[in-house]
Symmetry: C2
Subunit: 234 residues, 2 copies
Amino acid sequence: EIVQYLKNSAPGPALPDLSGKTILITAGPTQEALDPVRYLSNHSSGKMGYALAQVAAQANAKVILVSGPTNLGVAPGITKIPVTSAAQMLSEVMQQVQQCDIFIATAAVADYRPATVADNKIKKKDDELTLTFVKNPDILKQVANLPTPPFTVGFAAESQNVEHYARSKLNLKKLDMIAANNIATAGLGFNSDHNALHVIWRDGEHHLPPQPKVQLAAELLSLVATQFNKKTSN
Amino acid sequence: EIVQYLKNSAPGPALPDLSGKTILITAGPTQEALDPVRYLSNHSSGKMGYALAQVAAQANAKVILVSGPTNLGVAPGITKIPVTSAAQMLSEVMQQVQQCDIFIATAAVADYRPATVADNKIKKKDDELTLTFVKNPDILKQVANLPTPPFTVGFAAESQNVEHYARSKLNLKKLDMIAANNIATAGLGFNSDHNALHVIWRDGEHHLPPQPKVQLAAELLSLVATQFNKKTSN
């Protein structure tokens, strides 16, 4: 599906040349099991991460895509590592990240997982059910706080106070860049083919207007490449 | 996808003639929102319900399919009503059921939904999160307990004590028939193209062995038609 979707999209800006660079991208939702049949998840389609993987490959980067469950396929040349839960995503990311120059975390990782996973299907008995959830590992923060981290880009999907949350996420997690969007805007973001991003880094910012996610991915990748080159040439 | 999938499957037993009958089928999972992005769901693919809808249409029945989110399409002639939550599914079923002769509930309706749905994305703060869930309406039971119910068929997907749970569900909910399967059997059931069913009614039972879901649907529909004819000719 994504291949066709990309073929139908006109390329946006000229892509940067990322020859010799390795980019690690996470995409999609995670699913957190409650029992063998039930899970907690979210409406991330994975389209933004798959679009970034595609334009990064077109920019000659080596691309590794660690993806939660989606309906999307990847073009040849992109290494896709499928995962289900946040714990699995963390494990795969940590195995790959040391060889990577740039890490872009588009995945909508579940913030919490059930404290316990039942081996058998939970039977419904009571009128109310109280479940305890524990925090999932913060993959983005763990990568950004490695001794020698890659250039690390986070995403912030918020329904209110978008810029405030994005800037505090940038600072608290020690990211190099964050791409924020307002999920309350009709027709954009989750499950849509379009999005708009407010891209923020330590000493700058840029608004990318509403557009197809593949074009948006190309524009974002250009910003990433420019700031990555600045950082690594210092 | 389902159309191709059905074309590739050889028909099983001769189909009953259900001309002039209306069959209402529910299929797929339901999604229960926690906030604008997060939801609780389950691994039901909807394949069994869509296969039943297809063979029922081939058996000349008028078919109404009330379906939770799936990746499946329906053949022309089947009326598909898409829904997301259990509450929506109940509402649509109750609007359709009075004109129906047979009701087959294959949907994996979420037993519980979050007690409250947040208008905005829940921010992660605490190390632990405790959520309260309340019981969803029991669509199957509500239909079976109508003053003039259709011939009502339930499904029981269990990971242990399968027959025990199925028989108590048949009796407690006053169903006409129940089709039970063991989701702990590798390669069968949820998300698989194959399944096996233990079909139980008040004065009989039948084991349908592991086979493609379309063939299984045809065999189940034959059992349904036979028992429906017995009941309505009394």
